[in-house]
């Protein structure tokens, strides 16, 4: 479980998050949704200790992120930020291999290599394994970064807009992959999604952020209502259903 208690955050004096208190259940796929600039990335970065915590407390699987050593946290959660530009010139397989670093600290074992190979296979990246990262398309690079986080093999996986740059089939494959992680391996996933229908189709738990506060949270059926979504996005939104799950219609 991730417990967030009374977290507020400012950037350069401007308040970005206001007194957020919530829980992300373990063994579930949680989606963070909300309009641009709502503070989704900021919240995810705070949980992933990519940004220092200013006020409040966050515990990930019982580890207080402010006091737990960072290398210990890296064995509990893997974070993928929204921006994934890297300065060094790496091949795809080399990048994914870094996902194992928290476990071997520079001396990879056969088991580490096996994890890397599995991650590459899982995201269908085998044919690209020897390409340099800067010779990949945006979507391919995105998948490589996700594979790296996957190879880290942690209880929690935090992803910020992982569907960026992915086409429909790869986006769907990724969501199915995350679903399988949760259902079959009992892992926990938190993912920022700007496309609500992906949340509607795949998430167990949804947290809707607006202007730095939580507007609603709970199961998809409870959160994804016409009234609430219209308020969240300041636009009239209609809801339908498809295969027993909510479906958001923006051309109402």
């Amino acid at each position: 479980m991730i417990e967030i208690r009374a977290v507020s955050h400012r950037i350069a004096g401007t308040p970005i998050l206001h007194d957020i208190t919530t829980r992300l259940p373990e063994g579930r796929l949680t989606a963070l949704i909300g309009p641009n600039g709502a503070g989704k990335s900021t919240l995810l970065r705070l949980i992933g200790r990519l940004e220092p915590l200013q006020a409040g407390r966050i515990r990930v699987a019982g580890h207080d992120i402010a006091t737990t050593p960072t290398d210990r946290l890296a064995q509990v959660m893997a974070v993928l930020g929204q921006q994934t530009l890297i300065a060094s010139r790496l091949r795809l397989a080399e990048l994914v291999a870094f996902g194992r670093w928290p476990h071997h600290k520079g001396r990879p074992t056969a088991a580490d290599r096996a994890h890397v190979a599995e991650a590459i296979r899982t995201f269908a990246l085998d044919p690209l394994a020897d390409r340099f990262m800067d010779e990949l398309s945006g979507g391919q690079a995105q998948r490589a970064h996700i594979a790296m986080a996957f190879a880290q093999d942690t209880e929690w996986l935090l992803l910020d807009e992982p569907l960026n740059n992915l086409d429909m089939s790869h986006a769907r494959a990724l969501m199915a992959r995350l679903r399988a992680l949760v259902d079959r391996q009992g892992r926990s996933v938190a993912v920022v999604l700007h496309e609500v229908n992906y949340a509607a189709a795949w998430a167990d738990h949804i947290i809707a952020l607006k202007d730095g506060s939580i507007l609603a949270e709970g199961a998809p059926d409870a959160v994804l209502t016409e009234e609430l979504l219209s308020r969240l996005y300041d636009a009239p939104i209609a809801m339908g259903r498809h295969q027993g799950r909510p479906l958001v219609l923006h051309h109402a």
Partner: protein, 330 residues
């Protein structure tokens, strides 16, 4: 799948070994050339060999310091095209020397033995540089262009401040500073060689031990933190090593401008590796080889030792541009 991966990775994995071996041979060759070429028999053979060994040591020391410090710095700065020199490290060292003489006076400070003076200077330099540039890089990650601009401007500021202090200070004191900080490839500051050698050796070993962590650092801050690297500690440690190495090379031969850029560019371009276990030794070897080979060519063959730094800049700069255009430096 696992086999396919290792198979495919083999040529790439072997390449660095060959490159390093080749560079080591090249360095051995130019060193031998430097020591024994044109060496007459006669009574002063031992004396000449001693002189040559001294200068060889100085050139190798500087080449290695510049190469290793630049590669390390570029990783910390997440930027393949900055050098400690561009960001003002050597200017800070010169400024520090000037300020120490100006504030503590000739008798007090400049009167110290050269080694003690040097050690206290580099201690101060490490503190100052890691505090200043550490803050800059850790805070600056949010706005990288601003960080880089700040660094470049700091370099200009330090250089100008040192020049300014030099102009307005007491001429006798200025003479002391000038003697200390205007070493060059021809007027190597030989008294410092033993201590400078020891410092360099320690710093290079420390950098090499950090190479796995530097590999992770090179992924960028977010990825490094996510992988559990103690980002801030590693940045500060790496910058301290850079400050040590820059102090050494500046003290022995003075500021070296773009030499580091060229060496680091060559190291990346030749090894095509992202592993610091390979990059750091390669950069050290390349730096030493260029300096020794260049000095041999100019001092012994062309009789124009004064222009080595000019030619390093010219030939190295052209080669760098060539690599740049070939897309080998990114």
């Amino acid at each position: 799948m696992a086999e396919a991966l290792t198979l495919a990775a083999r040529p790439a994995a072997l390449r660095p070994v060959w490159v390093l071996a080749g560079l080591a041979c090249l360095l051995a060759a130019v060193s031998a050339l430097w020591m024994w070429q044109g060496l007459g028999g006669g009574g002063n053979r031992g004396f000449v060999l001693g002189l040559r060994a001294n200068k060889l040591a100085a050139l190798a020391l500087v080449g290695v310091s510049v190469g290793v410090s630049t590669v390390t710095f570029q990783t910390v700065a997440a930027n393949r095209v900055l050098t400690p020199s561009i960001m003002g490290f050597d200017a800070l060292y010169v400024l520090l020397q000037t300020a120490l003489v100006a504030s503590l006076g000739i008798a007090g400070f400049a009167g110290l033995p050269a080694t003690a003076k040097f050690l206290s200077e580099i201690a101060l330099m490490v503190l100052l540089a890691s505090a200043l540039f550490g803050t800059l890089m850790l805070q600056g990650a949010r706005d990288i262009p601003r960080m880089i601009l700040t660094g470049v401007i700091l370099g200009v500021l330090f250089r100008s401040l040192a020049g300014f202090m030099g102009r307005v200070m007491d001429p006798a004191q200025y003479a002391v500073v000038q003697a200390a900080s205007f070493a060059s490839f021809n007027r190597v500051n030989a008294t410092l060689l033993p201590v400078a050698g020891a410092v360099t050796l320690l710093a290079v070993l420390a950098a090499w031990r950090m190479s796995a962590r530097l590999d992770v650092l090179a992924l960028g801050r977010d990825a490094a933190v996510s992988l559990g690297l103690r980002h801030q500690a590693v940045v500060i440690a790496a910058l301290s090593l850079v400050a040590l190495l820059v102090s050494v090379s500046t003290a022995v031969v003075g500021p070296v401008a773009f030499f580091g850029l060229i060496v680091a560019g060559l190291a990346h371009g030749l090894t095509r590796s992202a592993s610091h276990g390979v990059l750091l030794p390669a950069a050290g070897l390349i730096g030493a080889t260029i300096l020794i080979g260049g000095q041999w060519l100019f001092e012994r063959q062309l009789g124009q030792a004064a222009t080595l730094s000019v030619v390093v800049e010219f030939a190295g700069g052209l080669f760098f541009l060539y690599l740049l255009l070939k897309g080998r430096i990114r």
